[in-house]
Symmetry: D2
């Protein structure tokens, strides 16, 4: 494994669908402190102060919430070609698209659960306009001093009917590596954490208990300090933003987290901490059903909605939430 | 460049020489909160709670302070062979050694300035003894709750008469990439920051103004939060440890830093923050003489000793310090 | 009110009863980072690095958990006499005792719910022994750099069958002022927060839902930063200490909290933040039943045990916990 | 002393003079995150989110920088009368004024060094307009989520030709208590820290080395966490605000500090931490000349300008700065 060329460089951006585009834009721009980096059709492109590419979030008006697509950038054009060859050999029915604001041609395909993923290499390196010029030249744009102040897109968590199937696909076709996973007593993989680089994960699949395909659990933006997450909680509170869970520390991956719902209905995490994986021969950490039942790192039990709800919403969620409340 | 196989996986460990081995051990074990992971001859091996290998610091009794060697781990045995071939092709007069506590055979050579560097692949994955078992299985050993509590070795800063020469060597023979540098008005490279992976640097060369070869400026250990650095300052204060500079934020690389001297005379940094570099085509950030003269990120001027002193100490330092004080 | 001489200077110390004195001592000394300041009979006296008196915690071996007594220091001997006169006029059946390690004669009495409270003035100012001498002379003893590192005793929360009755007593006989309270729809006071000085509270009474008298809900120690509370959570985790709730922020008083159980069974809080009350005519903040039902500041619902359990434990708790779980 | 009625409740507000009113307003409103609470003539009134009175800062356009007046609120009208009687008995040539936006009639006088001080009791309790309503009812206005986010005015530092003379005046006429001081080898008091309540200081006098009367060294605003001070440094950096010194920790009073210059030329501190003084018989901590020479808590030497410059500026400063640079 360690010899294999790593073709995927990093998670690049996510397209989020929202039925309330103006309110969602306010959430990302005014509350999270992101900057608008472009507009096109029904979409607004946003970025954190540490994103080196043009944008990490494409916010698209849509009748329903959920995810449009997720994009990884490859190390080179050749790496892109290698991944496309591997995907096509594996039967992924993808195709090339022209690109988008901020990046060139991309290969677009579906993961086994039906989420759209794009791979591209040619990317526009962001150059800040005068009013966003940073004081330190090694930073893409100035620290906003407004709202939460997120640095960059950290990771995406898809829901999937069968996380294990998607894990195998990501390992084999994309070259992602599994770093942690939950394996239930019956052998089912309830959650898989995958990484394209030394971050300990950038893509996660957890089980969609409603049995629906192609849904989103959450996307996460990174802040530098755990204190930034605590401060974010006060900011969300003042804006009436629903905080579902946290701030607390995950046992899995040790991320310090806070989950909110943006006005369009999608779950958004603000996170800090965690660790890097330096070991080229790192063995996945496997969490058992009993270990997972212990709750989060410091003992908090995550609320039922966290394990049930995704976007777009489905009717089955209400049944499961009612059942959970009846316990 | 992005196509080239990255053979070096990460900075593994550093051997530090100390004329006061017991006091130095107290500094690393009781004050920094590291654990002893072995002893051999005149050396004690230490580790932070996040180091996945056996140890990241080999502390060796010696008549003088300074560095024994620095070691990088490669991605594979084949990667190790490739680097050795490249080194030998470049005329590096190295040789194989049997290995050491915690790792297998290694190729040992000198950088152009005369610092000893070792490359190896076979490494012992650390398994915590019962009393150091962590509560969370994705952590090598338990959080110490003692002293500063450093997570892992972060980077090493060598002094060199010609940083540029060493930069070229590291790029060409080791495959490290330059991420930031200081280039003076006369074209001299006064400092170079190099990375083997997505950390923005793990090896730095800055100019030895005394004209001496093979010296150490400092080694740095990482803590998770900037607050940990502030807390460390209080702990150093109570132990009478000399704090030379900080806590403050570097303009270059944006690391939040605190420089101390361990009892053996070596400069040790506790650091937090910084950022990762995801761009496979990242262009080095070049700082000019004028930009560097502005001081650190928030305006602090670093004290003269920071720019003059290294280990082992040399007489020329005193001349330069006296001249600096006379200004 | 603002004209009335404030006779009570501050919360001084608490006597905690423990059936597991050695394990409890380990909790306070090794995990919280307190220092032993004396021993006498079955009691060990402990202190935080910011306590100016000899000790803030008297830990006494006892068949059952719970509280021995709570002590306030008065501004002067005359203030003490005034309070005793007021107490006796109000029919408090107290009496003088000889004093204890660290303070002189004290007046001992019961609050309406049956908790023992002592008032005294003459107090021994702590002088650190050589090994605990602080680097900064304006600090009572050195920052421990061990465990959590609590600064001082912050507040005590008694359970009471009728918090309102105890509130009236504390206001009238002790001169404490009410700063916040929970008033249920039927007019019952479910919780009262009282202050002797500019801290926003140092004594709290909340309802004992088991109907038992004289019990303790928790005592709290202060740390300087919210980050210290997060770090404390990692330390408790590594020691297997039960964390009942938090870290999170209270809506009432805005304290950043983490509740644990020390091995003797008493609930201990580590807290940070909050605010001072400068207004001499401050009006109590009244929280309604509906407001309280919203949970903590950032939305967390406190677990059932938090509202039911106290020390010493009583059988009725189990009935209530079972009933709560059945919901 | 402890018996004496404390007549002064707390530091209420400061009037700051600025020759650049618009730029200064931008500094306090956009960068510090304060809210405008009124305007009158050449003055704008500002407040932090934790100030319970209408405002803590009156910003007044003026040909020169410096301080207009400082105001303390008394515990009651009777307390105000007592202080006025004491002041007049001591020969303070003060007089009554009608009051100002946010407070009623006040007694206005000069301290021995010539700074104007006002005492008042009747104060308008701030009620937030709808757009500033806080989510938690125990907070005066909502957390801004904009800029630094200061909670309240913390303290004022006047320069004085003879700090000791002003210390005696404040103790005897105002009832402030001395908590810490610097006494030079020749017996001169180089700095005195005074408190009206359990904060360890709210008014400081340090020596004006230019020999000028009535000048200001700095005013300070409080933030909740040390991390807020670090974050403030990044915000100041992005706005090109001059940071003179810090972030660092003072040895005296242990405040974590960052000194900046607002555009009008006045030195403004953002601070966190410190401690409360609970001891009614607290003895002042005396720092010697040698102890002060050690620099700040963690070893930083404060820059020369910090010891020389005040507002309004005087020509003598340049002479002293030049002499200092020549060393």
């Amino acid at each position: 494994v360690s010899e294999r060329v790593r073709d995927i460089a990093h998670l690049s951006h996510i397209e989020l669908l929202t039925p309330k585009p103006e309110e969602s834009l306010f959430y990302f721009e005014a509350i999270l402190g992101m900057e608008v980096a472009g507009e096109s059709g029904d979409s607004v492109y946003l970025r954190g102060f540490g994103d080196y590419e043009r944008s990490s979030l494409k916010l698209t008006a849509s009748p329903q919430s959920g995810v449009g697509h997720l994009a990884y950038r490859t190390h080179s054009r050749e790496a892109l070609d290698r991944r496309v060859a591997a995907l096509e050999a594996a039967g992924a029915a993808g195709g090339w698209i022209e690109g988008d604001l901020g990046h060139g041609r991309a290969y677009s395909f579906l993961d086994p659960d039906g989420h759209r993923i794009e791979l591209f290499h040619d990317s526009e390196r962001y150059v800040a306009p005068p009013e966003l010029q940073p004081a330190l030249k090694n930073q893409p744009h100035r620290y906003p001093g407004r709202g939460v102040g997120v640095r960059h897109l950290d990771h995406v968590n898809f829901l999937a009917v069968d996380p294990g199937e998607n894990r195998v696909f990501c390992e084999q076709s994309l070259g992602l590596r599994l770093t942690e996973q939950i394996v239930l007593d019956d052998g089912t993989e309830a959650g898989v954490w995958l990484a394209s680089n030394q971050k300990s994960y950038d893509l996660t699949y957890t089980r969609d208990v409603t049995g629906t395909h192609g849904r989103l659990h959450h996307i996460a933006f990174f802040v530098d300090q755990r204190e930034d997450v605590l401060r974010a909680a006060d900011i969300f509170l003042e804006h009436g933003i629903v905080m579902e869970s946290g701030p607390h520390k995950h046992a899995i991956q040790q991320t310090f987290f806070l989950y909110t719902y943006e006005p369009g209905g999608n779950r958004i995490e603000v996170c800090a901490g965690g660790f890097l994986i330096f070991d080229p021969e790192h063995e996945p950490v496997v969490w058992t059903q009993a270990e997972r039942a212990k709750g989060q790192a410091w003992g908090m039990q995550t609320v039922a909605s966290f394990h049930i709800k995704g976007t777009p919403p489905v009717a089955e969620e209400d049944v499961l939430l009612a059942r959970s409340a009846a316990h």
